[in-house]
């Protein structure tokens, strides 16, 4: 179905996060003469999600505004771009090229970008209450505002999980002077599935040294709630109880189109959603051929990944409409960093796929003095991690990364 002669083609972008915004910017940059509509179910324009947990705010009546101001991302001001915020795309019919919106309207498109991201996994439905606590999660600006308010009040916080969001949140709560309890029932410490047991146990010790009660195994499980909502337990005390136990791709709205949605949305190396020539996906939701381990698929939940894949999806879409060739494929090299109670943790490559690890320098019993770890698979390095309070081994780390990239 080519666009009607004489009318401008219409492009729909579902998700107003950084991947969606970057796709829109790339399309505009390719000078496609189209009308672009960016749909977002949050009420806010694109903001810097990683910034939500990175710092403590001073007590103020204007806290909500301060956070929003701080994480503001410059939007694309352009007459060709329309923002439809607070508008959910409920279903999509890819064959007839129609989106069905929460407002009851429909939107017919010529090109589509899927950038709907992920949402936190929960053990109860939504921000529900079990018998014991009011469960909350942290993903959006509204969640962050709520949590900063409660932490400012110095409340005790319980965090379930020990991944990035859990650790950053624990660190933030400590900075606010709160008492922190972390429960990790499945693993021995932070980031175990990525960095392995030894590093993970060392990181767990780091948390404990900084006055966080970090419980694993049965002692954690005992404090997790009974998940029967009807269970007549003691009434919820309303204490702050945050679940940070991973995420779920937002793909339900795509059901019924015969797509492979087993882990996000499957795309090719141009971010195209086969068999459709006019549908692309990017960001946290996109599952693409891993350029670094041929034959494997990867789906990454990192800021820079969303930028690079968003950009590529936009350029590929422009190209499908006859605007320029798509030259570069995905060049994103996974690299991320976080800070947990003063310890900078940097991870690069794909340590998750390793079968062995090697301490290059430092001592896991003295993380603050710097530890550099290489991750190997069949003898070849495929990932690296660097933990330090300062940056003693930073140049060695960067050198390791270089050799990883040039593999």
């Amino acid at each position: 179905m080519p666009p009607l002669a004489g009318s401008r083609p219409r492009i729909g972008i579902v998700g107003s996060g950084i991947a969606g915004l970057r796709a829109a910017k790339a399309i505009l940059k390719c000078k496609v003469d189209a009308r672009i509509v960016l749909f977002g179910d949050e009420a806010h324009r694109t903001y810097n999600r990683p910034g939500l947990t990175k710092k403590r705010y001073p007590l103020s009546d204007a806290l909500d505004m301060m956070i929003a101001e701080d994480v503001k991302v410059n939007g694309a001001e352009n007459d060709a771009l329309t923002w439809r915020l607070g508008t959910r795309v409920e279903t999509a019919d890819l064959r007839d090229r129609i989106l069905h919106l929460s407002t009851g309207e429909t939107f017919e498109y010529d090109g589509l970008v899927i950038a709907s991201g992920v949402r936190p996994r929960t053990s109860v439905w939504g921000n529900g209450e079990c018998g014991l606590h009011a469960h909350r999660t942290l993903r959006g600006l509204d969640d962050a505002r709520y949590i900063h308010h409660r932490l400012q009040a110095g409340e005790k916080i319980t965090i379930v999980g020990a991944g990035f969001v859990a650790c950053e949140l624990a660190s933030l709560a400590k900075e606010y002077g709160c008492e922190v309890l972390m429960l990790e029932a499945l693993r021995s410490g932070p980031f175990e599935n990525i960095l392995g047991e030894r590093v993970s146990v060392a990181l767990g010790r780091w948390l404990a040294q900084h006055d966080i009660t970090f419980l694993t195994g049965d002692s954690a499980r005992e404090l997790l709630c009974d998940l029967q909502p009807s269970h007549p337990g003691p009434p919820s005390d309303g204490a702050l109880f945050i679940e940070a136990i991973g995420s779920v791709p937002n793909v339900e709205w795509l059901h019924g189109n015969g797509l492979d949605l087993s882990d996000g949305v499957r795309v090719d190396e141009y971010m195209r959603v086969a068999p459709w020539a006019n549908v692309f996906a990017a960001g946290d939701v996109a599952c693409y051929p891993d350029p670094w381990t041929p034959g494997n698929l990867t789906r990454m939940e990192f800021w820079k990944n969303a930028i690079d894949t968003g950009d590529l999806a936009g350029r590929s879409l422009a190209s499908s409409m006859g605007h320029g060739p798509v030259t570069s494929r995905i060049g994103y090299f996974p690299s991320m960093s976080t800070e947990v109670l003063g310890l900078r943790i940097q991870i690069a490559g794909n340590p998750r796929m390793s079968d062995a690890m090697e301490i290059v320098c430092g001592d896991l019993d003295q993380l603050d003095q710097g530890v550099l770890v290489a991750y190997l698979r069949e003898g070849a390095m495929i990932g690296a991690a660097y933990m330090d309070k300062g940056a003693r081994f930073n140049s060695a780390y960067i050198k390791l990364l270089k050799s990883l990239r040039e593999r």
């Binding site: 810097n48 800021w303 991320m336 976080t338 800070e339 940056a391 930073n394």
Partner: protein
């Protein structure tokens, strides 16, 4: 164009030093040191650094 890092936002994550080591570096204390001026041939590395910063602390100003 010159590089400007918002020191209030920057938390020395060092992602920029990986993308553009010619202009960004963490010193032994883990503090970011950077050079404002860059040459045109490094522009894509610099843009990569701007995007990589999870705190959006790096700006290019003319």
């Amino acid at each position: 164009m010159k590089i400007f890092v918002d020191r209030v936002k920057c938390q020395n994550h060092g992602q920029c030093a990986i993308s553009a080591p010619t202009n960004f570096e963490l010193d032994a204390n883990g503090e970011l040191q950077y050079q404002e001026a860059f040459s045109e041939e490094n522009i894509s590395d610099i843009e990569d650094a701007v995007d990589s910063c999870p705190l959006q602390a790096i700006l290019l100003k003319s």
